[in-house]
Amino acid sequence: MGALQASASGGSAASIELFRSLFDRELPYVWTTLRRLGIAERDREDLCHEVFFRVHQRLATYDPSRPAKPWLCAFAVRVASEHRRRAHVRSEDLGGEDDAAGLAVAPHTTSEHKELVDRALDALDLDKRAVLVLHDLDGETVPEIARGLGVPEGTVYSRLRSARMEFTAAVRRLTRREG
């Protein structure tokens, strides 16, 4: 038996299939989620690797009858959070720019709209940002988000409420200044 089985609670070849299916199926989601969590392009491969390494290590906790995305997002949030804390990571990589400067130009093109949404999301802390992404972009339900992130549903509602308010305020601030 190989590594996968040994570390996945003594599983079988099914462990390999399970990990492979998760990897093949959900890598684009993790890849995209890391960007949505504010991870710079150049760091995404490394952090994707870290996420899936941890997924492999915790494969036995995966319930395939439940949506995988909130479960995977929890790994992405933790990895992104640790990445943010590293001293050598420059603040500009973390979306830490001062958004008070507003946008250089009014958002007209796709890339300009993406800049706006990225900078507005940067106004949120990672926990709120994750909930907003999971609920308002991925369409996951609050109970599934709570289960995936390992927090009470009330916490998810609270974070979502704050996230929406802060995101809205950031959008208003950014678009007002450019106008």
Binding site: A14, E17, L18, P28, E45, C48, S65, K114, V117, T168
Partner: protein, 243 residues
């Protein structure tokens, strides 16, 4: 706990929507990420490297090392061809290697094509019943001209799409829809890569439908076929909810 949530204003919601869809991962990046995971798992005590890491930098190109780690050869065969050696020489933190030589090597060997479009998903007539042992059927949708590796990737995406429907239906408490999706997967991909997951979802769907006898029978079949499955704890938990 308050569930009173103010919806986003339409214009702000439109801004959020500009973030873009789920992105495809470039084939070379996909291969590098998988290589890095494989190499790192092999180095973790108890993580599959047979305990302690190999005395020297692992040499996955070695036939004997591969022979003792069949999962790596499986992974390499599926995903990175024979390029595993490049991925195992990472730095201590196993940062994903991006040397140009690696890039070309893994690009050539990269196995995972972009996810197949939803349009490829074969359509089968949903059925409200779920036979315990679906009879194999001949699949017609596989493109004759597709190379085997690409075809596998497309099939996996198609399998996954069907099971996603079942999973979502279960999460929403829609047992009939879940059963129909499981049936559809069984008839379309009787020997699919995700058949174990399909069978597990089938049990959960039957539990959700309150079909206790059917659920137990299907679970017993599942247990016999996959005695070491990682899905068993979840199934046992579901079965315990039955009267």
């Amino acid at each position: 706990m308050s569930k009173d949530l103010e919806p986003l204003d339409p214009d702000v919601l439109a801004v959020l929507g500009q973030i873009g869809p789920i992105e495809d991962v470039p084939g070379a990046a996909r291969a590098r990420i998988l290589q890095a995971v494989v190499a790192r798992v092999a180095m973790v005590p108890g993580g599959g490297g047979g305990g302690a890491p190999p005395p020297t930098s692992p040499s996955p190109a070695s036939g004997s090392w591969i022979a003792r780690h069949p999962w790596i050869s499986l992974t390499a065969a599926l995903a990175v061809g024979g390029a595993l050696g490049a991925g195992a020489r990472g730095r201590p933190e196993n940062r994903v290697a991006r040397a140009p030589a690696d890039r070309s090597a893994v690009s050539a060997a990269s196995a995972s094509p972009p996810a197949a479009s939803a349009a490829w998903v074969p359509v089968a007539t949903p059925s409200a019943t779920m036979p315990p042992a679906p009879a194999p059927v001949t699949r017609q949708a596989t493109p004759q001209s597709a190379p085997p590796r690409e075809r596998t990737g497309q099939e996996l995406a198609a399998e996954s799409a069907i099971l996603d429907i079942a999973r979502t239906a279960i999460a929403r408490g829609e047992a009939d829809h879940a059963i129909a999706a499981v049936d559809r997967h069984a008839s379309t991909f009787p020997q699919g890569v995700l058949r174990e997951e399909r069978e597990a979802l089938g049990v959960k769907a039957l539990v959700l439908a309150g079909r206790a006898d059917d659920a137990r029978a299907r679970a017993a079949q599942f247990r016999a076929k996959y005695p070491e499955s990682l899905f068993l704890p979840a199934l046992d938990s579901a079965l315990r909810s039955l009267p």
